[in-house]
């Protein structure tokens, strides 16, 4: 049996977990899922649809919001009870963190960002390194495989199955498990049109070629028109032209919108790592030799300060 940790934010499913469920199904064993916190129980329908027969719900008075070490403890309790062949989660910051706590409790190895898994003795995984620019093949020497799934390696596929059966359990927590937890939140910097970078279907992204903070108004205008948002390269955030929250790449956000328009961005490996999984990539660059062209679908060779205003008015016209 494969146990899949399904992550949720106050009851709302993390869509990356569906990719983890899909990847887990490929291992050819029964799938059971686990959510931490009783408000996760609402995902039983969709988790079942994606192939989990049972949804274990870790319920505890002290787990009211994200509490990573308590998650690790709950997973450990469940692993000891059910003895699964593998524990799988999405390769998201939360997925990795909760699995790391499990691995630390069990003193067992953990393989992060896996794109392929073969169960055996040893288990063999392929995992992303250098932000997905390299694929590493590795042996995992441990009866239990603890692995997270590289977010963009698996497309979610429904198994068209019915809702999972609920099974509640109460983990036995120690006081230290609940010290670190979300105490409060705020909604953060408001983005153009309220669309966040990782949710946006369209991202208009700017690099050094934009020339300065003022130049970004052209990008904002097009992004707003297309109901998307603005992204940027590290040169831009390092120069203080845009907030760090907008940075795309290895040390920024990893995004996969339907459309990514890269304006004045050269295509350094660390930038590519954050956007290469976009469905369609359009480049506007003065340099026909810019490396980003190797990753793009379409390109206009030219000055973005001329191309963008023309594009914005053409899009406005097309939208009527």
């Amino acid at each position: 049996m494969i146990l899949v940790l399904v992550d949720h934010d106050r009851g709302e499913l993390d869509p990356l977990s569906l990719r983890a469920l899909t990847a887990a199904r490929k291992l050819g064993q029964d799938i059971e899922a686990v959510v931490i916190g009783k408000d996760g129980a609402g995902v039983a329908g969709v988790v079942g649809e994606y192939g989990a027969k049972v949804l274990h719900v870790a319920t505890h008075a002290d787990i009211t919001d994200y509490t990573p070490q308590a998650s690790g403890r709950a997973l450990k309790d469940l692993v000891e009870k059910l003895n699964p062949a593998a524990v799988i989660a999405a390769g998201s910051p939360r997925g990795n963190e909760q699995l790391a706590h499990l691995a630390a409790f069990l003193d067992a190895p953990m393989a992060s960002d896996c794109s392929s898994i073969t169960l055996g003795s040893p288990h063999v995984v392929q995992r992303a390194r250098w932000a997905g620019n390299l694929i590493e093949e590795a042996n995992v020497h441990s009866p239990l495989l603890i692995a997270s799934i590289f977010p963009f390696s698996t497309e979610p596929e429904s198994a068209n199955a019915g809702a999972a059966t609920l099974s509640e359990f109460q983990p036995i927590l120690e006081a230290s498990d609940t010290v670190v937890r979300v105490l409060s939140r705020d909604s953060g910097e408001s983005k153009s049109g309220g669309v966040t970078l990782t949710d946006a279907k369209v991202i208009v992204s700017g690099g050094r070629g934009v020339g300065g903070p003022e130049g970004f108004s052209k990008l904002e205008e097009l992004a707003a028109l297309m109901e998307g948002t603005v992204g940027c390269s590290r040169v831009v955030t390092a120069s203080g032209w845009r907030p760090h929250a907008e940075q795309v790449g290895q040390t920024g956000s990893k995004v996969a919108p339907d459309l990514y328009i890269a304006c004045g961005i050269s295509g350094a490996m660390q930038h590519i790592a954050g956007m290469k999984n976009s469905k369609t990539i359009v480049v506007i660059n003065t340099d026909p030799e810019a490396p980003i062209l190797n990753y793009a679908d379409y390109a206009i060779i030219g000055d973005l300060h001329q191309v963008l205003p023309a594009l914005t008015s053409a899009v406005r016209e097309a939208k009527g």
Binding site: P68, P122, L134, L183, H244, T280, A296, A314
Partner: protein
């Protein structure tokens, strides 16, 4: 306030990666070395805390003896001293690395109030070494911190997520992992560089352990092979792009 920052020497590759003939490593002959961006933020945070509150900033790395170069560079920023756990060039998996760091931390006379890690390294990003260290030292850990204040013996931390910001608190002694954007790392001053040459770097031998996560080989991830279709030059190419946007359903 005594702070410890953990660093790792990594090759600095901007363009394409090239593999060694045995496909076990990347070819570093023509590359410089440094530390990962998040770790520069970690050192800057440590320097600021010691400036504000007094105390010491210690650096710790597990790596080849050449990693002294990275330690000296960060000593020049303002760290007090450094410890290098020297490897024999063998591979260390996250469990082995964490265990060696834990042994070294326990062997220190100083009880560090705060241990800071980078949130992920550029080459590995296993997301676990810091959690393992936290468990072994029985300390609370907050990861992916983008803003931090130390007040009344508590590290209050912010983490940026898709929906905004989350607030966490960890009573000291604690561990945090930090991200780019936490602060703006300073450049070393000339006197800083001079002093760094004389600051103590303790070299210790690290005993290798059998890796449970064992690297077999590396391959370069495939990219789109065909390259981009050039729609034209300048604003004249805009109508062609609009057609493309209609075709893919973006309009």
């Amino acid at each position: 306030m005594d702070v410890l920052v953990c660093l790792k020497r990594v090759p600095l590759a901007g363009g394409t990666l090239i593999l060694t003939p045995d496909a076990k490593d990347i070819e570093t002959k023509h590359l410089g070395f440094g530390i990962s961006p998040h770790e520069e933020n970690a050192v800057e945070a440590g320097v600021q805390l010691v400036e504000q509150m007094g105390g010491t900033l210690t650096l710790l790395t597990l790596g080849p003896s050449d990693a002294e170069e990275q330690l000296r560079a960060q000593l020049a920023i303002g760290a007090t001293r450094a410890v290098l756990l020297e490897t024999d060039g063998q591979e260390w998996d996250p469990q082995g690395t964490a265990a060696a760091l834990v042994d070294a931390i326990k062997a220190e006379e100083t009880q560090f109030d705060l241990i800071i890690f980078g949130a992920e390294s550029v080459d590995s990003a296993g997301y676990q070494i810091h959690v393992r260290v936290a468990h072994a030292l029985n300390r609370p850990i907050v990861t992916n911190v983008k803003a931090m204040k130390i007040e009344n013996g508590v590290a209050s931390c912010e983490r940026v997520v898709a929906t905004g910001r989350e607030h966490y608190e960890a009573p000291l002694p604690a561990i945090v992992t930090v991200r780019d954007g936490l602060n703006i790392p300073r450049y070393p001053s000339v006197p800083g560089r001079m002093q760094a040459r004389k600051k103590p770097v303790d070299m210790k031998k690290a005993e290798p352990r059998v890796p449970k996560l064992e690297k077999l080989n590396l391959t370069i991830a495939p990219s789109k092979s065909t390259g981009a279709e050039i729609l034209g030059n300048g604003a004249d190419a805009v109508p062609a792009l609009v057609e493309v946007l209609k075709k893919i359903g973006a309009l």
